[in-house]
């Protein structure tokens, strides 16, 4: 066990990372982001604003100068990630080498695979809007013909899941419909059926009505009920119940805070 000594960093204006919805206020946090979100780091993350933050707020003018020179020289932008990590000593040399290999393996992927990896990454971050854009870019690409059915189904499936994440059930249904065309998996069918349960305005296509047995319907209905019941017992619901048990003043203030938080989270998803 050990301790890493933190240098004094007089950050007055934390740096906001829009994709993650967080502010960072130390060089250690910056390194953590670079190491744990390499796809974000590879996607133009180290820009002029970040270099300015490093120089002025983290008080690391030498590092900022090095990054600016690198950027100006038009060199490999991925290398800037390692320049930062090596300068901050937050990760060991061995860990930095490991990240270098990981980034190298990303760069070795073909365009479609890399795009899917990026899109999946945004999906995991619940950045559904960004994820959908990336998935659609893969499908629009001229290489579409070279994509396997399985890969195409996965893309459509993830588009469906992304739309469902932002409550666009109609679009989600259409995407799952496309996915089913390629994979014919009962799991996809289950999602289509459950979407019609979540939004009764959506109608199940005739071809699916004949494909789903009554037994499957009952089972999937039960599954959805169980999921909804579990969600009802969740921490978030408990907090809301507690909030509504409070006096009107506290309730209003709490509700306002909660709705603002939801709005912020939803906007982030888009």
């Amino acid at each position: 066990m050990s301790l890493i000594l933190c240098r004094h960093e007089p950050v007055k204006h934390p740096y906001f990372i829009e994709r993650l919805g967080v502010h960072i206020m130390s060089s250690q946090e910056l390194c953590y982001i670079l190491y744990n979100h390499p796809l974000l780091a590879m996607d133009g993350f180290i820009d002029q604003a970040l270099i300015q933050f490093i120089e002025e707020e983290l008080d690391m003018p030498f590092l900022a100068g090095k990054l600016s020179a690198w950027k100006k020289g038009g060199e490999d932008p991925d290398e800037m990630i390692f320049i930062i990590l090596q300068e901050c000593y937050y990760y060991t040399s061995r860990e930095v080498i490991k990240l270098r290999q990981k980034i190298g393996s990303y760069r070795k992927m073909n365009e479609a695979e890399f795009a899917k990896e990026t899109a999946d990454y945004y999906f995991r971050l619940k950045q559904y809007g960004a994820a959908i854009q990336c998935y659609e870019k893969i499908l629009d690409s001229w290489r579409i013909k070279s994509l396997s059915d399985e890969f195409t189904a996965k893309i459509w499936h993830n588009i469906g899941a992304s739309y469902a994440g932002i409550f666009w059930f109609g679009k989600a249904l259409a995407a799952f419909d496309m996915a089913y065309n390629f994979d014919k998996k009962p799991e996809t069918l289950k999602k289509i059926y459950q979407l019609t349960l979540l939004n009764p305005q959506l109608k199940l296509k005739e071809r699916y009505q004949s494909a789903i047995t009554e037994r499957q319907q009952r089972q999937w209905e039960l599954d959805l009920e169980r999921v909804l019941a579990d969600a009802g017992r969740g921490e978030a619901v408990r907090e809301i119940r507690e909030l509504f048990n409070q006096d009107p003043l506290k309730r209003t203030a709490g509700a306002e805070k909660l709705v603002t938080e939801w709005k912020r989270a939803y906007r982030k998803m888009l």
Partner: protein, 407 residues
């Protein structure tokens, strides 16, 4: 150096104030008098004069009053011990102030016989009230003051061990110091011994009493000094203002030894220290191990640029009261802090681990902690560890650990 540089020996009975430029020493009783009718305070002769006239009330034992949270009601107003000490110091510091012509205090070192946190905090509070910046005020023990006084003298005085008797009202103490020359740095160790054979100085006023006192001191000297070699023996305290009453004792200590008398020794030692603080480079390049100074080095295992190392938080010889530090770390590996306590004897070196019990579980290197290290006395280290989280990624909690470690 601009401003007054002052050394004070603050005792319950008398206070010695030694000043550099003008080079002078004041000795005043540690009493303060408040005018019954107006908000005026007096010290020294004025204090007694107003008390005798009847318009003032005098308060003594000011240090005891601070330590025991005593109070005094004067003119219907209740004053806390701390307030009385504050007023005493204000008026006492006006003595050198007036003589120097209203110049600010550039350095103040206060020597006290017992280093008690409460008293030290109170003295710094008094400094705040007197608008003396804290970095200009230092509190040391009588033992340390003795060391600085001796080390400011010619080399022949401290070439061997130095002994000192301090005879004050109802207290008899013996101090001894030794200089050890090392390859890298000199080390001075000093100790104080409270002797049981105390007597009130009033006994010296009659011949019979003085004779008994002389005998007591002689037997003490014989027991303590034996036939050991001393480069000097010093005498200090009100009891040695005159040594005529102790012919036997003087004969005993003067035998093959140099003996010096300096009644304001602690104030002079404090002044030497205060003058040294004014210099960019110390004139006393030694490690001082004595009362008020740490006897062990405390370091923490850290990772620096991929390599394991030790970060020294407090070194042996540092003033424990001033050895405070606050450092931020990121925890990696097992959640615990590993201190190394290294006393002067290398065989006694040991490790002390403080686990971060009940701290939230987070991925490696995403817990930032703030370590505040201080000492409640020269043998007790107090570590305060606070969870600072990891920015917005892993928000901080209120979790805090306070642990005392015996050095």
């Amino acid at each position: 150096m601009d401003g007054l540089v002052i050394g004070i020996d603050l005792c319950n009975s008398y206070t010695h104030i030694a000043c550099h430029k003008p080079e002078r020493t004041w000795v005043i009783p540690t009493v303060v008098c408040k005018n019954k009718n107006q908000d005026e305070w007096y010290v020294d002769e004025e204090a007694y004069a107003h008390t005798l006239i009847g318009d003032g009330v005098i308060e003594d034992k000011l240090l005891t009053q601070v330590l025991k949270e005593g109070t005094a009601t004067i003119g219907g107003i209740r004053y806390e011990g701390l307030y009385l000490l504050k007023m005493f110091l204000k008026k006492a510091l006006e003595l050198p102030g007036k003589e120097a012509g209203d110049v600010p205090i550039a350095g103040l070192v206060i020597a006290v016989s017992m280093l008690d946190v409460k008293l030290m905090d109170s003295l710094l509070y008094c400094a705040d009230y007197l608008e003396i910046p804290r970095e200009r005020v230092h509190i040391i023990s009588h033992t340390e003051s003795f060391v600085y006084y001796v080390m400011s003298q010619k080399r022949e005085i401290w070439s061997n061990q130095v002994g000192m008797f301090d005879l004050a009202d109802e207290s008899l103490r013996y101090y001894e110091m030794k200089v050890q020359r090392g390859i890298r740095q000199m080390q001075v160790t000093a100790e104080r011994q409270d002797l049981e054979e105390t007597f009130h100085l009033d006994v010296l006023e009659n011949m019979a009493g003085a004779k008994i006192a002389d005998k007591i001191l002689s037997s003490c000297a014989e027991r303590i000094l034996q036939k050991r070699l001393f480069s000097a023996v010093l005498l200090t305290g009100k009891g040695f203002e005159s040594t005529d009453w102790a012919p036997e004792f003087m004969k005993q200590i003067c035998s093959r030894r140099r003996v010096y008398v300096e009644t304001s020794l602690f104030a002079r030692g404090a002044l030497m220290k205060a003058l040294d603080y004014q210099q960019e480079k110390t004139a006393y390049p030694f490690t001082c191990i004595c009362e008020g100074r740490l006897k062990a080095t405390v370091s923490l295992k850290i990772l620096n640029r991929d390599k394991e190392g030790q970060l020294v938080l407090a070194a042996a010889g540092d003033n424990w009261y001033e050895a405070k530090s606050t450092v931020d770390f990121v925890v990696t590996g097992a959640p615990e802090l590993e201190f190394t306590i290294a006393p002067l004897d290398p065989k006694k070196k040991r490790l002390v681990k403080i686990p971060l019990k009940d701290f939230p579980r987070r991925p490696d290197r995403t817990t930032r902690i703030q370590l505040t290290l201080g000492f409640s006395d020269e043998n007790t280290m107090v570590a305060l560890i606070r969870d600072k989280g990891f920015g917005e990624l892993f928000p901080a909690t209120e979790r805090m650990i306070k642990q005392e470690v015996i050095l």
